[in-house]
């Protein structure tokens, strides 16, 4: 019981996730600065930003529903932290795993997007409502490719548990090569989920100020931003667990190092995408996702079904 509490709150639970999220945010910002030929922030900048936001006053507009306004950031942060409990950090076993946890994790990762929508909607400001609407429109575009590209390898591995998927692909390494298309698709869909350029349409600074977060300030905004950073880590961990199954057999220190390397490599890849693309318009993004990304995801599904058929005979 004490051990479980320790795991949930300290490591690899809440505290570790917060520290790692801030570190990954620093890696993202520093790497982005280097790519843009700038200097970039010092290592303590994300922590300083968090503390500064937490120390400021929460300004809640008069006409909003206070309960929902304050509830949504908490739910966002809670759901991403919960999602991390089902993913293997090192070794082959996650903290709590059961058959079917990949579905649970995917739904837990959808909850933050819904809270962005609700937070923006309940803010009752024009910019927030437009941003909230765009969040949902974007959800409909990338959610299917994300689900399909994560579930296709699950089909091949014959299990709905993330830990067992990782183990399966570690043992049958060459089968993981058939999932390369899924890796690409899930990276694109993850960019949509995290609302990063080229898909940061719901939070387009030059069009709608800050989208859903326009009316948020102080600790509530700090929770939202922390939730986004943790979501980045959790999404990268998910992709690493499903598509990059190596380094699982070493003991804690080396296995942990492999995990850090995998996750930060995915974060670095997302950063490069952030720097080389412009922001798309919402209709262009939906076009792109449904015309190109979703069919490729279904191709991956087909490939996995075919391979599974061949392998099991």
């Amino acid at each position: 019981m004490i051990g479980d509490l320790f795991h949930m709150l300290i490591f690899p639970g809440f505290l570790f996730l917060v520290v790692f999220a801030l570190a990954a945010e620093w890696v993202d910002r520093k790497f982005c600065a280097k790519l843009q030929n700038r200097v970039g922030p010092p290592w303590y900048q994300p922590l300083a930003d968090l503390i500064k936001l937490a120390a400021k006053e929460d300004l809640i507009p008069e006409s909003v529903d206070r309960g929902m306004f304050m509830f949504t950031p908490t739910v966002a942060l809670a759901s991403v932290v919960t999602a991390s409990l089902y993913m293997p950090i090192w070794g082959r076993q996650a903290l709590f795993s059961f058959r079917g946890d990949v579905i649970v994790v995917l739904y837990l990762l959808t909850i933050p997007t819904v809270t962005f929508f609700l937070g923006g909607w309940y803010s009752r400001s024009v910019y927030s409502m437009i941003g909230a609407g765009r969040t949902l429109m974007q959800l409909f575009a990338y959610e299917i490719p994300l689900f399909v590209s994560i579930l296709a390898p699950a089909l091949l591995a014959n299990t709905w548990s993330i830990s067992e998927m990782s183990s399966f692909y570690r043992d049958h390494g060459w089968l993981a090569l058939f999932n390369v298309i899924g890796l690409g698709v899930s990276l694109v869909a993850l960019m949509g989920k995290l609302e990063r350029v080229p898909f940061d349409i719901p939070e387009a600074e030059t069009e709608i100020v800050a989208g859903s977060f326009t009316e948020y300030s102080g600790r509530l905004l700090a929770m939202f931003r922390l939730a986004i950073s943790v979501e980045m880590i959790v999404g990268a961990t998910l992709i690493g667990a499903v598509f990059l199954p190596f380094g699982l057999d070493f003991g804690p220190p080396i296995g942990f190092a492999f995990y850090l390397a995998k996750t930060l490599a995915i974060v670095a890849g997302l950063t490069v995408f952030r720097t080389v693309f412009a922001r798309l318009r919402i209709d262009q993004m939906i076009d792109f996702c449904w015309k190109y990304v979703a069919p490729v995801a279904f191709v991956q599904l087909l490939v996995d079904l075919v391979v599974k058929g061949i392998v099991t005979t």
């Binding site: 280097k34 790519l35 700038r38 200097v39 080389v276």
Partner: protein
């Protein structure tokens, strides 16, 4: 020839280049040669014609008589726009623009600088 991610190569090369930003004020920065910064007034050359006062767009400079053929100048650094028109207007070249641009302060009174000539003893430039 449309290509997504056209900037990738350049962007990845930038990682190995030095940053284009100067870490001012930890890194020193100075403006090129004839930058128009804070003015310098040589009271010995001034003849009190007050052409500089007439031409100053913001009335930043005031020439006062302090003795027989002796003048002092008071320049309000906050009003001055560093155009150096007074430098051009002075027939005796008594004014000159230095390259000093780090003039910020927290006391408005200190921004009025008075330039006096040398009396018999040491020069007294109050800043």
């Amino acid at each position: 020839m449309k290509r997504p991610g056209r900037m990738v190569r350049e962007v990845l090369d930038s990682v190995f280049r030095k940053a284009a930003t100067t870490r001012y004020p930890y890194g020193k920065y100075s403006m090129p040669g004839k930058f128009r910064g804070k003015l310098d007034f040589c009271a010995e050359k001034c003849i009190g014609c007050r052409m500089c006062m007439k031409d100053c767009p913001t009335n930043a400079i005031t020439i006062r008589k302090v003795g027989e053929k002796q003048f002092e100048a008071e320049i309000d650094l906050a009003r001055c726009i560093y155009c150096a028109q007074c430098v051009d207007a002075c027939p005796k070249k008594a004014l000159e623009a230095t390259g000093d641009f780090e003039l910020a302060g927290i006391d408005r009174a200190k921004l009025k600088v008075v330039y006096r000539g040398k009396p018999a003893s040491e020069p007294e430039k109050k800043t």
